[in-house]
């Protein structure tokens, strides 16, 4: 079959019609990935607006721009949005788009589950944000400590929004994690053994495993709290024999691993892009991969370092402090590997590269302040102060937002076929980098001066006036930087110069297919012989085989399954067609959430029935699957 004939045939098989129905039913991982990226970025902007309002309130002492209650809702929604609706989903966006491209597959293992995962994410976000419409946004902080959030102290529906939204969202995150694990383990191109996987896959794989074993703690906690609030059980109620500290243990059993969920894939982005821009392979690849896995595992053993001020036994505190020290080591290994790569490379100073360097600086500061807070006696002082606010923003903005923006500069040409403006890009970088440091570094000082976190105002003459003013100015400069970045994205998507398939001389498979990639990703399933296929092999070696039907797979939507460790071809997978059922199932579950919130039993029952029917429709075999 000729190359163009092959492309036409595959197009006919894989292309989703560009109609409303098509957009509701598509299971194309690239469409879903882009939706994830855009939606998560919108939530980033919403969370950013909340932050901007808070910074305005804190510009001066005794400011009355916001009421105490409004401020409390804003910081709760800011944290919840950034942690759950931005930081993790944006990485899901990258993973959705790039995991199949990086492994040389035509889609994810469970495309419909993938669509379902996105719809749930969207509806859960809308559900949570609809709380603003009734003036009852969650107001207990993003970690929602009980008993402040128990019914006697928070009788409105604010906290019910929080619990139900997070339980709902956990469905999306969980099925997404299952999907990534199976895809990465079972669908890598022939020859891509575990040892040859690009770093991004190591981090996505580790992260997904962490999600499977940590997220249930949050789900359990939210379920128990909602039962306490609605039905009068006593899980967290000391007067009924329960324990309010149980919430903290459960929350942080989830919450600390979650920090690694939102930074490890970002590390992966850095490990992918940095070598390309310094023109050499990542130094210490094996150790960086091992560090990724080690961080994921040790991350389960440090949760109580959020609880050093609760009065834990000293032996326990010693243990959790030690674990928090140990987890620094794999991070140190990764940082050293990046630094060595930069030191020995021949850098090309693109915007993306600048963001990677900015990431290293900011993340190192965040890591160091993390060590400071991990020392138990020091933590008794800095815990719950602005020092911690500074620390967590250095970690999360440093190790999530900077790599994400750098990653967008890196991969934008692949996703759109157009290059982003480097000139505007440099502006966006310097505004963000300087604005961030001016905005957040003084928070360390505010914390040392005794400013507790989560205060809607502060007293005059406590030494906090100047630092807070500087913080606000810096935060707004940072926000302008983000705005410039958004302008660059919109402008470049329309008018950017054409990128070609491989503008950076990249090393990994996604650069071997056109930009943007066709619906089927690869005309020919690639064959891999090294870690950096585009640097080690010719395109002919990777993609030659257009006349081999076992490589072109044109008998319906098909892709290849391979074995877990050696990536030997194992089976040809029939991939499902587009389907409306995932969207309908997600929608009926969203309605179920609202009816549970408002206690409308009849609607709950109806929604549950529709959900069950949607599951039935989803898994009912397609006609050709039944053919003998």
């Amino acid at each position: 079959m000729g190359a163009t004939a092959l492309a036409k045939r595959l197009d006919a098989i894989w292309e989703t019609p560009h109609t409303l129905i098509g957009s509701l039913t598509t299971v194309d991982h690239k469409a879903i990935g882009k939706r994830y990226l855009v939606t998560a970025f919108i939530f980033l902007c919403l969370g950013g607006i909340e932050a901007a309002l808070m910074r305005a309130q804190l510009t001066r002492p005794n400011e009355h721009l916001l009421s105490a209650e409004a401020y409390n809702q804003l910081f709760t929604m800011h944290g919840t949005t950034m942690m759950f609706l931005y930081a993790a989903p944006i990485l899901s966006g990258f993973s959705n788009y790039f995991v199949p491209l990086l492994i040389g597959s035509r889609d994810m293992a469970f495309p419909r589950l993938n669509a379902f995962s996105y719809w749930i994410f969207l509806f859960a976000g809308i559900f949570l944000y609809s709380s603003f419409l009734v003036g009852a946004a969650p107001n207990g902080g993003w970690f929602n400590y009980v008993p402040l959030t128990a019914r006697p102290f928070d009788p409105g529906i604010n906290i019910d929004f929080y619990c139900i939204a997070l339980i709902f969202l956990s469905v999306s995150t969980t099925v997404g994690a299952v999907n990534f694990i199976v895809t990465i383990l079972r669908m890598r191109a022939p020859g891509m053994t575990l040892g040859r996987m690009p770093m991004y896959l190591w981090s996505t794989l580790s992260t997904s495993v962490v999600i499977l074993f940590s997220l249930p703690a949050l789900t359990a906690a939210c379920l128990m709290l909602e039962l306490d609030r609605r039905t009068g059980t006593h899980f967290f109620d000391p007067s009924g024999g329960g324990s309010s500290l149980l919430w903290q243990h459960l929350f942080w059993s989830f919450g600390h691993p979650w920090v690694y969920v939102v930074v490890l894939p970002a590390f992966g982005i850095v490990s992918m892009a940095l070598p390309v821009f310094v023109r050499r392979r990542l130094a210490g690849f094996d150790y960086v991969a091992m560090s990724t896995v080690a961080i994921a595992i040790i991350g389960f053993g440090v949760w109580a370092h959020h609880m050093f001020a609760t009065g834990l036994p000293t032996v326990g505190m010693g243990f959790f402090s030690a674990a928090s020290m140990i987890i620094v080591l794999p991070s140190g290994v990764s940082v050293t590997a990046w630094l060595l790569t930069v030191w020995t490379g021949r850098p090309v100073y693109t915007t993306s590269y600048l963001f990677m360097l900015g990431f290293i600086v900011i993340f190192v500061i965040g890591g160091l302040s993390g060590v400071i807070t991990g020392i138990v006696p020091v933590d008794w002082q800095v815990h719950d102060t602005y020092f911690v606010v500074a620390h967590l923003h250095y970690v999360l903005i440093g190790a999530n937002l900077f790599p994400v923006v750098g990653g967008i500069y890196y991969w934008f040409p692949k996703m759109t076929g157009r290059l982003m403006s480097e000139r505007i890009g440099k502006w966006s970088f310097w505004l963000m980098f300087i604005g961030f440091n001016v905005g957040f570094f003084p928070m360390h000082i505010a914390g040392l001066l005794g400013m507790p976190r989560r205060v809607y105002t502060y007293y005059e003459g406590m030494g906090l006036d100047t630092v807070n003013l500087i913080e606000t100015i810096g935060a707004y400069v940072f926000a302008i930087g983000v705005l410039v970045f958004i302008i660059n994205v919109i402008r470049s998507a329309r008018r950017g110069p054409l990128a070609g398939s491989d503008p950076w001389h990249g090393a990994t498979l996604e650069w071997s297919t056109p930009s943007p990639p066709p619906a089927y990703n690869f005309e020919v399933i690639p064959i891999i012989t090294g870690r950096d296929p585009l640097w080690d092999q010719t395109l002919e070696e990777i993609h030659g085989g257009a006349d081999d039907p076992s490589r072109t797979l044109t008998n319906g939507r098909e892709t290849l399954a391979t074995t877990v460790t050696d990536a030997r071809p194992d089976a040809i997978l029939h991939m499902p067609e587009d389907s409306i059922w995932p969207m309908l199932l997600a929608l009926s579950l969203a309605i179920l959430c609202y009816s549970a919130l408002l206690n409308v039993t009849i609607v709950s029952i109806l929604a549950a029935i529709v959900a069950a029917l949607s599951v039935g429709g989803w898994f009912w075999p397609e006609h050709r699957e039944l053919a003998p």
């Binding site: 409390n72 933590d379 007293y459």
Partner: protein
């Protein structure tokens, strides 16, 4: 200018033995962090100075020697530093404990958004103010009546949470006499920002004097206006929430006012305790501290003045 008692609660300006230990540890970790950060910045900036812009060169292979370097610089050296800091910090890890057998000198009970302070052995009840004799380890029990609060006097010691259903044991010691600001450090609801208190460290003699005065019942109204104020206090509902020991008011929901006039602040460290602020607080607490449990009290001008006179007499 700030008229509130207690200076800037600066962690790095300790005024007590415990806070001194913590400040030393904080300085050690901060200095190590700065050194590491400078090294990282050098490692990043030197390649920029060298400007080895180059042609695409994917030739650098994976190198085993680099692995050794990474292991030593990225893991082994940090491990030694972290181990030293960790062991150094462990000497202070029991710093807040005083054992479960000793009886407490003071009980502090967190409320949304004020601090109930009791001296069980001395029969004293007060609020938002803790008197301690200098140079003495004052043993404190921390409790909560509602949600989780966190008890923190940055210049004297680290923080410890007050958790409903639990008793946390803690101590404070001040080197020299003075006033030290205390804060709630755990988000506890609408007015978390305005839940402060003052630790007043005084000599042993002054403490004994203060304690003797506090243990007495309230002084009876000194004149007719004060007496009028007392009945206005009783009839306008104040007594439902506030206790004035010996004057017939026994409410438990709000702070004990028996010796109110001796205190430095009103509204949990929010306002200086002057006649003008007090008047404003009584009639419009909801405006000054929205969400506070104290309602705005409607009083005639005369009644208000009488109540103020009465309260000012509760020394």
């Amino acid at each position: 200018m700030n008229q509130l008692p207690g200076g800037i609660p600066n962690i790095l300006a300790p005024r007590g033995i415990a806070a001194q230990h913590l400040a030393i540890l904080a300085w050690v970790t901060i200095i190590i962090s700065i050194v590491v950060l400078v090294l990282v910045l050098i490692a990043l900036l030197v390649p920029v100075m060298r400007t080895q812009h180059g042609e695409p060169d994917a030739g650098v292979a994976y190198d085993a020697r680099e692995h050794t370097f990474i292991l030593i610089v990225g893991a082994a050296i940090p491990a030694l530093i972290l181990l030293s800091v960790y062991l150094f910090s462990m000497k202070d890890i029991g710093l807040w404990e005083y054992g479960s057998h000793a009886t407490a000198d003071v009980q502090v009970i967190g409320h949304q958004w004020w601090w109930e302070v009791r001296y069980p052995q001395l029969g004293i009840e007060t609020a938002n103010e803790i008197y301690i004799p200098t140079g003495t380890r004052v043993k404190i029990e921390l409790l909560s009546s509602d949600v989780i609060h966190s008890f923190w006097v940055p210049q004297l010691h680290g923080k410890l949470d007050m958790i409903p259903g639990r008793v946390n044991r803690f101590w404070l010691e001040a080197d020299s006499s003075g006033q030290y600001r205390g804060e709630c450090a755990e988000f506890c609801g609408t007015q978390h920002a305005h839940m402060d208190f003052t630790v007043v460290a005084v000599s042993h003699a002054q403490f004994a004097h203060w304690a003797a005065a506090q243990a007495k019942p309230a002084s009876p109204p000194a004149d007719a206006i004060a007496a009028e104020g007392r009945s206005a206090f009783q009839f306008n509902g104040c007594a439902y929430c506030h206790t004035v020991n010996g004057n017939g008011a026994g409410g438990r929901a709000g702070p004990d006012l028996t010796h109110f006039a001796s205190r430095l602040t009103i509204g949990a460290g929010m306002l200086p305790n002057t006649r003008a602020y007090l008047g404003g607080w009584i009639v419009s607490a909801q405006h000054l501290k929205p969400g506070v449990r104290m309602p705005d009290v409607t009083l005639s001008g005369e009644e208000l003045q009488a109540v103020l006179t009465y309260l000012e007499g509760l020394r």
